[in-house]
């Protein structure tokens, strides 16, 4: 019998009632008394010198409140970067100033040049249209490899080149890796592109700045995945506002996928302008603006080499990657191609020697930062593609080659600085084989061929590092923040609970899953528990939600705070029953004395805490409210095995996904239905990346995929019915729930198997195809077949 409550049950998501009935409270739903509207004038050229900005005609339009340009921000800091990378030679990365409004130069199409505040959004836009900006075009830097050649035009004149950093990892292994590759029995080489993506959350970004002049208090309402991080970065580094004078609120947020982690200039602008204009200032991004101002994702160009010995054991991996940073460093951009990518290059395999080289490059494009998976999909994609290619070159079964090289003993210290606590890669592969019916593939292929279609099967494994992260470790790696999480559990007199979590839900279902954990711990009904998040004025300093960290880190903080509550409640119960604390048991919401029939109910104890007439006041304080901060001891390492079956129409190159099968190990699971949903969403985005999505710039730095006319998002009929399983469970050993995180797995695990499947299908037509770059558009697949 599946459980009907607590950990392991699948209650329907309580937040969906308000989302699906139009009662969500999104940032754009908030309207302040007297609010004015801002329209940003954005650059339509990728690179140019600003000669002059004439705002006189715009300022004369009735209803215009104020117009800002970069001169208004001279006393203010730039947008900070939250992670510093040290390069191969021990030098700090090059870090250009990231102004709120363009200073002297524009560096990408979409960069903000001026801002008009007006009584209505329409007036602001009308006025922005008549601002005269004189820009002398400069040659645009778009191609990463050309950008780092001597003599390339520079995105930032004050930097020595367009190279942000040249990172080597593990630098000490460089020579040993070179030697191992030179001496290997077989080396497989693959060059590939991890395509640039635009996250496209359903809700575009919005921010509202508000200033309470008598009190001197600032409030920013913003579509963020981590309001405390925004408060710290914006308050301390941009505007110089101390935290106690700055409140950041992120109410319901309609999807983030990473792109709402970062501190954006629009947020600082609205906060600053609200004070300057003495009225609330609101910005709502249009979809067109979102395309050219939300941080983009991925965009790596990689050469990977896999060396094997004569028995097909992996002996070394070497990679050479160019990673696009865009024109400025977004909040966590430098960490994505380095620590979130290099540390995963061991994958599920016991490769002893690994060397990763990453050159991060400035270009005249929108800043690039974390997008669902962030660095880990790039790692899995290269590794799982090159393994497939090696299997083909060696004439061995790709599953057998993987199995032969699996890590089987845990904990396992990889040569790339991380230690996997648990895992069982054979178990997920066994599960995949059971689900996928590989034995029946030949018959399915024959059936497809009868209908004039090619059929292909692709398999891959993946590993990821979630639950980020141990603060001391990331501090050593250059993070300018801690990555613990917080929770306050407030028990009310009549027994209900409010949990203030530093995690932030923007679709993940925390309001449903988190109460399941506490309900299980105390033995009360989930309906007695309310989750509060997204407001720095009520929630203790927390780090927010990304990197599949909410349950593993935020949930752990909540467990720790609840344990404190239970300990204190037991003391109160012991007092009420005149027993010793050590003899008190809590079960099904009732405290009892072991071995007796004496008991008091949860509600009696909570009431006593707040009406302490009969209470051990000499030993403990009244009240029942506890806070915990949880800093994880390690990352968590979800893993899995995926399979994809495709049909390819050889006449048109169109790929249709017939089956997508995922066997994941997420450790313990709190709400299986929500986990299914997270995997489904991840798969949709992974398949989107593999088949459809591609952000394209032309040589002048114009964004060609600037709307849904050209940027292909996956639709329901592009996707198959998924087959997902998460019954393989090796619980995390270092967090109290034994959970690992499931939010990014689907997006990390699916692209390699889709591409492996298509390559397999093309080979079945007798074509010696080794690779096709994503997105596998009909055109590209057709060219691969006919090239």
């Amino acid at each position: 019998m599946p459980k009907d409550h607590g950990i392991g049950a699948s209650p329907k998501r309580r937040e969906d009632v308000r989302f699906l009935t139009g009662n969500g409270n999104y940032t754009d739903d908030i309207n302040m008394n007297g609010q004015a509207y801002v329209h940003f004038l954005r650059s339509d050229v990728a690179h140019g010198t600003i000669n002059s900005i004439d705002t006189a005609a715009a300022a004369a339009i009735p209803g215009v409140v104020k117009i800002f340009t970069s001169v208004d921000f001279e006393a203010v800091g730039g947008v900070p970067c939250g992670w510093e990378i040290t390069d191969r030679h021990g030098n700090a990365m090059q870090e250009p100033k990231h102004p709120i409004l363009a200073e002297g130069k524009v560096r990408y199409v979409g960069e903000m040049i001026a801002a008009v505040i007006a009584e209505t959004a329409e007036i602001a836009r009308d006025a922005a249209e008549v601002i005269e900006v004189d820009i002398s075009d400069l040659p645009a830097v778009v191609n990463m490899k050309a950008a780092v050649v001597d003599g390339s035009p520079k995105v930032h004149d004050d930097l020595t080149s367009n190279l942000c950093y040249d990172w080597g990892f593990v630098e000490e292994n460089r020579d040993a890796v070179d030697a191992a590759i030179k001496g290997a029995a077989h080396v497989t080489t693959l060059e590939l592109v991890n395509n640039r993506l635009i996250a496209n959350p359903m809700e575009p970004r919005v921010c509202i700045g508000d200033y309470d002049r008598p009190a001197g208090d600032h409030t920013l309402y913003t579509t963020s995945q981590n309001p405390h991080v925004i408060r710290l970065l914006m308050g301390a580094f941009v505007l110089g506002i101390p935290e106690h004078k700055l409140r950041v609120v992120s109410p319901d947020v309609g999807g983030g996928f990473g792109t709402k982690i970062f501190h954006y200039a629009e947020e600082a602008f609205c906060t600053f302008a609200a004070k300057a204009c003495n009225r609330p200032v609101k910005w709502t991004s249009s979809r067109s603006e979102a395309f050219m101002s939300d941080a983009h994702g991925r965009d790596h160009v990689t050469k990977i080499e896999l060396a094997l010995d004569a028995d097909n054991n992996f002996v070394a991996v070497r990679t050479d990657t160019h990673a696009n940073m865009g024109a400025y460093l977004s909040t966590f951009a430098p960490s994505v191609p380095t620590w979130l990518h290099g540390t995963l290059m061991a994958g599920n395999y016991k490769t002893p020697l690994i060397y990763i080289n990453v050159k991060a490059v400035f270009t005249n494009t929108v800043p690039v930062d974390a997008y669902r998976g962030a660095g880990r999909p790039e790692a899995s994609f290269q590794l799982e593609r090159v393994i497939d290619k090696a299997a083909h070159e060696l004439g061995v079964d790709p599953i057998a080659l993987r199995r032969q090289n699996f890590i089987t003993e845990f904990p396992y210290a990889t040569p790339v600085a991380v230690e996997y606590d648990t895992g069982d890669y054979h178990a997920t592969m066994d599960k995949l084989e059971e689900m996928a019916d590989f034995a029946g593939f030949d018959a399915r292929r024959a059936e497809s061929e009868k209908n004039g279609k090619l059929r292909g099967l692709g398999v891959n494994c993946y590993i990821e590092a979630c639950g980020i992260a141990p603060s001391n470790l990331v501090g050593q790696l250059g993070a300018r923040a801690g990555l613990y999480e917080s929770a306050t559990v407030r028990v009310n007199a009549t027994g209900g609970l409010v949990v203030m979590t530093g995690s932030h839900s923007h679709g993940q279902g925390h309001e449903t899953a988190f109460p399941q954990v506490i309900a299980e711990m105390i033995g009360i009904d989930e309906s007695m528990i309310e989750i509060v998040h997204g407001d720095t004025s009520t929630v203790p300093m927390g780090m927010g939600t990304y990197g599949s960290r909410s349950l593993a880190v935020g949930g752990s903080a909540m467990v720790r705070a609840t344990e404190k509550i239970i300990n204190k409640a037991k003391k109160i119960a012991a007092h009420l029953m005149e027993a010793s604390d050590a003899d008190i048991e809590l079960k099904d919401g009732t405290f009892s004395i072991a071995g007796t029939d004496k008991s008091v109910a949860w509600g009696d104890v909570t009431l006593a805490a707040y009406v302490p007439h009969n209470y051990p006041l000499e030993d403990i304080e009244p009240g029942l409210e506890e806070t915990a901060f949880y800093d994880p001891a390690n990352f968590t390492y979800p893993s899995g095995a995926y399979a994809c079956e495709v049909e390819v129409d050889p006449d048109t190159g169109k790929v249709t996904i017939q089956r997508m099968i995922a066997a994941d190990d997420f450790g313990n699971i709190v709400n299986p239905m929500i986990v299914d949903g997270q995997v489904h969403g991840g798969l949709a985005q992974g398949i989107g990346q593999a088949l459809l999505e591609g952000c394209v710039y032309d040589d002048d730095g114009q964004l060609l995929s600037g709307s849904y006319m050209d940027y292909a998002m996956p639709r329901a009929d592009d996707l198959p019915f998924y087959e997902v399983d998460h019954s393989c469970q090796t619980p995390c050993t270092h967090n109290p729930l034994g959970v690992k995180g499931c939010g990014e797995a689907g997006a990390i695990g699916s692209p390699p198997s889709v591409v492996n499947a298509v390559v397999n299908a093309l080979r079945s037509a007798g074509k010696d195809v080794t690779h096709v770059d994503m997105p596998l558009s009909p055109n590209r697949v057709w060219e691969a077949l006919n090239g």
Binding site: G653, M713, P778, N779, W782, E783
Partner: protein
């Protein structure tokens, strides 16, 4: 969007009069025009909605021809043009339900988007475009991307499609917009076979005369073997190269012939 005036006349004559105002534009379903206005790429002084004109709506079937009012929605054509199944099927696959319930045949033809479906149907069918002032043969109507024979203020009041003996439309979707990356409409009529191609050419919808000649010989996919369109005149963009589009024209024409039977 900039400010504009709005009129909703109930007769063609009133609409024609209203369109005399400078920079006035007809409004069909707004599925192209409103989006353009929101992006501030069009700034009509006045919109004259055709949606209140009863005489411009509906589908009728009179002796071998299907006549469709110029303000008839794609959804109404999909539901009502059963006498010409290939046409109804084409209309039923334009955009999504919201687009089909708003967008109109007149708007689509007047717009003449190089990737739109109706231009292929009208050209292959040898349809007649009826306006408030005259009748224009499809062969004379389409004059290159976004360009037609319509004069300023001229309204498409209806379109007459002779029902062919056999016909089929094959649309290969552009993955993002789901307009036609290439679409081929083949119609076999008493006067011969007509093949119209949309989505492919820099010049907009066109007739593939070599294919027509071959199919007039034998109406079978095999008759097209070895024929190809010139890739140089094709559209090349991030969704499909010129060569790929030229290839698709051949594939889709064969499929359309095979499906038309």
């Amino acid at each position: 969007m900039y400010e504009f005036e709005f009129e909703q006349p109930s007769s063609v004559a009133d609409a024609v009069a209203a369109l005399k105002a400078e920079d006035a534009l007809a409004l069909g379903g707004g599925q192209t025009l409103l989006a353009t206005m929101k992006q501030r790429l069009a700034a009509p002084s006045k919109l004259v909605s055709l949606s209140g004109i009863g005489e411009m709506k509906g589908v009728s079937n009179d002796g071998g021809a299907v006549s469709i009012g110029g303000a008839t929605t794609h959804a109404a054509v999909a539901a009502g043009a059963g006498a010409y199944p290939a046409l109804a099927d084409m209309a039923g696959h334009i955009g999504d339900p919201a687009v089909r319930n708003r967008g109109t045949i007149g708007g689509s033809l007047a717009n003449n988007d190089p990737s739109a479906d109706y231009p292929a149907a009208a050209l292959a069918s040898g349809a007649t475009i009826v306006t408030n002032a005259r009748e224009i043969a499809a062969d004379d109507f389409f004059q290159g991307m976004f360009t037609t024979a319509l004069d300023e203020g001229e309204i498409i009041t209806g379109v007459r499609f002779p029902v062919p003996e056999a016909a089929n439309y094959q649309k290969f979707l552009q993955p993002a917009s789901r307009f036609a990356l290439v679409g081929v409409f083949v119609a076999k009529t008493g006067d011969g076979v007509r093949v119209a191609v949309t989505g492919a050419s820099e010049e907009g919808v066109f007739r593939w005369s070599e294919a027509e000649a071959a199919l007039n010989g034998t109406f079978s996919a095999g008759a097209l073997e070895g024929l190809s369109v010139d890739a140089d005149s094709m559209i090349g963009d991030m969704h499909g190269s010129k060569a790929y589009r030229a290839h698709l024209v051949g594939v889709l024409t064969k499929r359309a012939v095979a499906a038309a039977g």
